[in-house]
Amino acid sequence: MDPILNPFSSGTRLRDMIRAIRACKTAAEERAAIRKECAAIRTSINENDPDYRHRNLAKLMFIHMLGYPTHFGQMECLKCIASPGFPEKRIGYLGLMLLLDERQEVLMLVTNSLKQDLNHMNQYIVGLALCALGNICSAEMARDLAPEVERLLQFRDPNIRKKAALCSIRIIKKVPDLAENFVKPATALLKEKHHGVLITAVQLCADLCKVSREALEHIRKKCTEGLVRTLKDLANSSYSPEYDVSGITDPFLHIRLLKLLRLLGEGDADASDSMNDILAQVGTKTESNKVAANAILYECVQTIMSIEGNGGLRVLAIGILGKFLSNRDNNIRYVALNMLMKAVTADPQAVLRYRATILECVKDADASIRKRALELVYVLVNESNVKPLTTELVSYLETCDQDFKGDLTAKICSIVSKFSPEKIWYIDQMIKVLLEAGSFVKDEVWRALIVVISNASELHGYAVRALYKAFQKSNEQEAFTRVAIWCIGEYGDLLINNVGMLDLEDRITVTESDAVDLIEITIQCHALDFTTKAMALVALLKLSSRFPSCSERIREIIVKYKGNFVLELQQRSIEFNSIIARHQNIRSMLVERMPVLDEATFIGRQAGSLPDAGSISAGSSVSLPNGVAKPADSLVDLLDLNSNDAPAPSSSGGDFLQDLLGVDLSPAAQSGANQTSKSGTDALLDLLSVGSVSGPVESPSAQSNSSAIDILSASKSEKASVSPLDDLSSLSLSSRTTSITGAAPMMDLLDGFASTPPKSENNGTVYPSITAFESSSLQLTFNFSKQPGNSQTTNIQATFINLSSDEYTDFIFQAAVPKFLQLQLDPASGSTLPANGNGSITQNFRVTNSQNGKKSLVMRIRITYKINGKEKLEEGQISNFPRDL
């Protein structure tokens, strides 16, 4: 065929281009081909040859579809539109719709052309202009061209009338104020006999109702009856057979009419009343297995559910949906579920009748249907049916697809925690879920289970036995393993003695060594991650106290990990070993049962989308000296299942420690403990799993982390010098003490109550403290110490004292140093400074002097704080550092 005679081909060159692009074997080749083509088109555009304009645009549209930039062709569209010929105009408008959008300023230029074309003699050109306007009309164009479109609603040719009606929709959506102009012509169109015009008129009326309250009232008053009659006629006989789809009378018009009736009936009893009969007729008489018929029924059901109540109709509607649910066609089932979802709010009881069918849909092979069904089940659950529904879902968990398990477990967990009638049931169900799909369970979920167990004191024995029994059969699911280990460690004594036996339980005989065996097997399992292993170590430590006879064996297991590559495990192993071996007298106090975790706070925090978890994970991972990256929250998470919200104020760290150990520290020891800043305490608290990190408000995770790092780095550098038995204490404190010049004694916290005389440990030179800054309201002192083996780096501990009688809040210390110095600030011990010197804030930082010996330290500081909410700022320069730092 001669290409020029083919009206839809823009000459051979377009075909050639498409062929060339299709022939490209790689993406790079394609890009090159397109680049070449674009260059050619640009040149052609610059030459401004009108003969090629059409072809160029056609090519650009193809290139645009492939996802390449085509903005340089935008002006060509406008030129084409302005040219007189039909083919040029057509391609121009097509390009306008594809290459431009309503946000481009170029569009302003086209308004005039559009106006002319809307008044064109040739109705096909009018059609093109309407189509373009309907696709890309902006608010300004809508205002300018609305009168033209309004006039075209009465055009002689029905094809133009229907396009004008749809174009009006775009206009009133862009400028709702214009709606009132369109109400009259739109309602006039409703009386049309031409099918296409009628369907678009109904659509226009529906959109008018959506944008304007007055239009809705008007149409409701004037047109409801007429629309009902039209629908009745349509339902009784088909009047334009070419619109019938597989024997069903014009489903599209049916649907449009039902939709408009829905808008009219919503919130208006009279209008709803007038359409009851026809809805009932459509709902009962339309009966077929065809998709088209079901589309009508589906729309009818939606209308029935939305308009003002009629009990009989609703029953009919839900009946229809019920039938849909058992339809073999997946699509029908899908829409039925969608619809039931909406019906639930109106009439949950009626929907509940189809519970069994809906549950079947949860097991459907089709992912879309499963998902909808599961969502529906989720909203259907209430206190009375939670048990059977959960049982069904849990049993399905065993057989369902891996892809679906995530969604399903999340929903089950949520249902169980929301509606569980009793704790024992909750525990049972969660154990089942963890066993079946533990890897899909979120961390909060298994933690919540631990919280619930710990709160149900009468069920401690039951829970630990249930977990033990299940654990013997399977230890594949990590989340389950964690819960089981935690409980066995915590309630091991209840396990072996069958304490708190419930009637429904079978007696089991577990010896002490059975329980230890189980944990030993677990800890040796390579598949488990180190968090679980660390939990197992804690459990072992606890069991060593619960089962004194196994103590030695447990110690042997623990000792195996003292050389572990994972620092967390190594640390725990060394520390726990020391506790078991050396501190028999306080061990039982250390590993006493956890205080009951506060369920309310936990749940409250979960509801508040876990802000704590968020802030902890924001702390990201910290790289440790030996290169092992340690998740920042592992330490906190692991032991602090419940509260890291600082029950003890930061300054009372020492007291807290005292309480905890139940020992009377000598004054020296206490001051030592106090001075060592609370990070040390944190570490110890963590260690003993007291479940409380009393970190500063700003960054609890950072604090506990830094202490963990200090401990670990200290353990490396000092292992040689400190006897293994001193490990624990030196681990927690040595790094601190070295940073406290002279006076700071090295205290063995656990040996503290033995009267070891304070022993000064310093690394050579002692530097005097200086008062770095003093104003009428604030005093700042610096204590110095050198890092052993690194003469360039100085550790500085800054102590801030408030000299005024007002409390300072939001206390922030900032420092700046010249280039030859490097400064690293640790977090401050707090942000609130009590009045009258009744406490202090300490902050450690390190300064590295690259010009050590030549230049001495110098520093600019800036301190901001608030007094009763009022900002205060103090600045100063410190140059009185000791010379040789």
Binding site: I18, G67, G196, Y243, A292, A295, N330, D366
Partner: protein
């Protein structure tokens, strides 16, 4: 309203794309890729509906049909009836079939602008314009005639001018 019509082949190459709402070009292509990755992983004989909210934002639904090497995808909001959209895809494909007699992917590739003419007669600015393929065919044929007529005039005038310049 209908938000977008996508036709892509089973390799994920877009064949016809039409967005009835503003979407930056890069986003369009990202969406097409995402749609394809969902569609190609779906088994045969499952429902024609896919959850599209993750791709097209809230209140969006996706219906697709698979014919030979092509996916026909309609994306629309809750004001449209899902099952009716399925029928509308059918109308679109039937019309193409009438137009090209056993339409295949190549017809669509090479008659790109004609396909757009057909689509514009079925969907207008995101609203359903015409649901009878006979009516659509009539409108498209009128346009074809008009183009042919003016092309013929061009042809005559050109040959006349060529002849004169000789």
């Amino acid at each position: 309203m209908i938000r977008a019509v996508l036709v892509m082949n089973t390799q994920g190459r877009p064949r016809i794309t039409k967005f009835y709402e503003f979407w930056p070009v890069e986003k369009q292509h990202e969406a097409i890729r995402n749609v394809f990755s969902v569609l190609c992983s779906r088994a045969e004989h499952v429902s024609n509906f896919v959850d599209a909210e993750s791709i097209f934002g809230p209140d969006s639904r996706l219906v697709y049909k698979h014919f030979a090497t092509l996916y026909f995808v309609f994306i629309f909001d809750s004001s449209e009836n899902e099952l009716a959209m399925l029928d509308l895809i059918q109308v679109f494909v039937e019309t193409l079939d009438k137009c090209f007699r056993n339409v295949c992917e190549l017809d669509i590739v090479f008659n790109y602008s004609k396909i757009h003419a057909i689509l514009d007669e079925i969907i207008f600015g995101g609203q359903v314009l015409e649901t009878s393929s006979t009516e659509v065919m009539k409108a498209v044929e009128e346009i074809t005639k008009l183009e042919a007529a003016s092309n013929a005039i061009n042809l005559v005038s050109k040959s006349v001018s060529n002849w004169r310049s000789r």
